[in-house]
């Protein structure tokens, strides 16, 4: 078991000698309320074995029944990836002996997936479009979670025993498999990452999953092989699992290319195996030797009748698909007149949805963008969370923008209102009310404050009267301080100059 000692070939040399071939398998956990074949809840993070029933525990006499919403999600995912939705398909039993599914088989789809032959165009970092062809998307159930105890660091190897939590067993999964991806050259790692990112955006847009890679609701297995330059036959591939961030997808592909190249250059052969990605080192290490498809002894699931999507129903679902993220981005860029960089920053910050929702709630695009991309982005950074996780909604941001536009708030006050909303003090209007943040627009009270400030600084008044208008700033500052920042500074300045002139 070599790990950190694996030899790696320099990346440039890999590319001089070999062409990479990728195959990406993405598993997405659907956001349905219940599991694929039983009515158990699917919420993440519940105490172990509290979301289980006789069906997902594989107890004798229990029978599965298909979740209709999961089938609809599968069809919508297939359509979004330009797949053909088959008019008839079955589930299949995949038999194996690991205890992560208590039935001793996983209900999946084998040679009759619900969606086949798709294509998905992704946009690489320099704006170039790359077409990924989709082999299939099929329905299956997730496995339970294993905890390996004893031995080293919770790994399966060397463990003395394993502990099983079946809360996740039976959660609906859609597996999306690409056809072999060739012709990427040096960009193979980037293509892999961008593909997963673009797929995540599409799935999020469909609303079928929360697509949280950190929580495992979106998982990528990266198949990588190399063929010598000029060869036409694919080399032996490895499948790297446990790749649970976009950055890791890129690193894992790059590492496997360098590792396999070193093996091949030394006259060795690549072993077809499952490898595990180590987030800390960026290395992969071998896992179990894969069963062959034959070992799984697939056969049609006798406990479930076939699924035959109605053509009209599928057409209706296709018509109701949301605008694809890439098209939406292009439209937003044109509508809001954004540079490529500005758009990319927004997308990378996860701000696009939030900003569009703020605009939909009535805010001008420039203000909506400014709030999310500067003040709120900083706040999210400070808290170490995603923008979308901030406890403020686009509607609330739009309300703050409206209050400023109506003259009810200054920019400074608006930030205080946002702070209040973020602190859980209620809606913007409630924060304005409870913190007493409304702009003092009543001239008579302002005049009183101005007169007070003028009386306190007679020397400044002399300077202003002597023509040093800039000196008025000191008075304005004093008034702003006296009113707790609730006055409109521009109006205060006007009043100061008026009073000095009298």
């Amino acid at each position: 078991m070599t790990t950190a000692t694996d030899a790696l070939m320099p990346y440039d040399e890999v590319l001089e000698r070999f062409d990479p071939v990728l195959g990406l398998e993405v598993h997405v956990e659907l956001g349905t309320a219940t599991k694929m074949f039983c009515g158990c809840p699917t919420a993440f993070g519940a105490p172990p074995n509290t979301q289980v029933c006789p069906t997902c525990l594989g107890l004798p006499g229990s029978l599965p029944v298909v979740n209709g919403v999961a089938v609809e999600s599968a069809v919508r995912i297939g359509l979004a990836l330009n797949c053909t939705i088959v008019d008839w398909c079955r589930f299949a039993r995949k038999n194996y002996f690991y205890p992560d599914i208590p039935k001793n088989f996983q209900i999946s789809q084998y040679d009759e997936p619900i969606a086949v032959d798709g294509r998905f165009d992704i946009e690489l970092e320099d704006g170039a479009t790359f077409r990924v062809r989709i082999e299939r998307a099929h329905m299956e159930e997730d496995t339970g979670k294993s905890l390996h105890v004893g031995g080293s660091t919770g790994r399966i190897h060397g463990a003395e025993y394993s502990l099983l939590d079946y809360n996740r067993a039976g959660v609906p999964l859609i597996e999306i498999v690409t056809k072999p991806i060739t012709g990427t050259g040096a960009r193979a790692p980037e293509v892999a990452r961008v593909y997963v990112a673009a797929l995540r955006d599409v799935l999020r847009g469909l609303g079928v999953s929360d697509v949280r890679m950190d929580q495992g609701s979106l998982r990528c297995d990266a198949n990588v092989s190399l063929m010598p330059k000029g060869a036409t036959e694919f080399g032996t591939r490895t499948e790297t699992k446990n790749v649970n961030s976009l950055r890791s997808v890129e690193r894992a592909v790059r590492h496997e290319m360098q590792r396999q190249a070193a093996v091949l250059a030394a006259g060795g052969t690549v072993v077809q195996e499952t490898r595990h990605f180590d987030e800390n080192t960026g290395f992969t290490r071998p896992g179990r030797v894969k069963e062959t498809a034959e070992d799984y002894r697939y056969f049609p699931e006798p406990d479930l009748v076939p699924v035959a999507p109605d053509t009209e129903w599928v057409i209706g679902l296709r018509k109701a698909l949301p605008e694809p993220p890439a098209e939406r981005r292009r439209r937003v860029q044109t509508d809001w007149d954004l540079s490529d960089l500005e758009l990319r920053d927004m997308v990378n910050a996860g701000a696009l949805d939030l900003i569009t929702a703020t605009v939909d709630a009535g805010a001008p695009a420039a203000q909506a963008r400014s709030w999310w991309m500067s003040y709120l982005s900083q706040e999210a950074n400070t808290r170490g969370i995603e923008l979308a996780e901030l406890p403020i909604t686009p509607v609330e941001v739009a309300r703050v923008v409206a209050l400023v536009a109506e003259g009810g708030l200054t920019n400074n006050l608006a930030r205080q209102v946002v702070d209040g909303v973020l602190a859980g003090e209620g809606t913007p209007d409630e924060v304005v009310e409870s913190r007493g943040l409304a702009v003092v627009s009543d001239d008579s009270s302002l005049v009183a404050a101005v007169d007070e400030a003028l009386a306190a600084q007679p020397d400044v008044v002399e300077k202003v009267r002597g023509g040093k208008v800039a000196a008025a700033g000191a008075i304005v500052g004093a008034v702003m301080k006296a009113t707790g920042g609730k006055a409109d500074a521009k109006r205060v300045r006007e009043l100061v100059l008026e009073r000095c002139a009298q």
Partner: protein, 99 residues
Amino acid sequence: MNTISRDEVAHLARLARLAVTEDELDTFAAQLDVILASVARVGEVAADDIPPTSHAVPLTNVFRADEVRPGLTQQQALSGAPATEDGRFKVPQILGGDE
């Protein structure tokens, strides 16, 4: 002719992590052979015009509403387990040291 070889039985036993002795391999291979031969007789009556049948009832699209139904408590779920720890099912080491 045998429908399953002794080697295939050994392979299945390895996949299932079953420790099967040499003698047992002979016994099981012979027994499985009889079972498989019996099942294979179905093929004798299946003509070319009969498609493989996976379901005896002509039903499709039997779906369930996506509504939560009560399941088991942790205690109930674990009640039949030979061993438990921290609310989880405890099972023997899954892979051998060399796998």
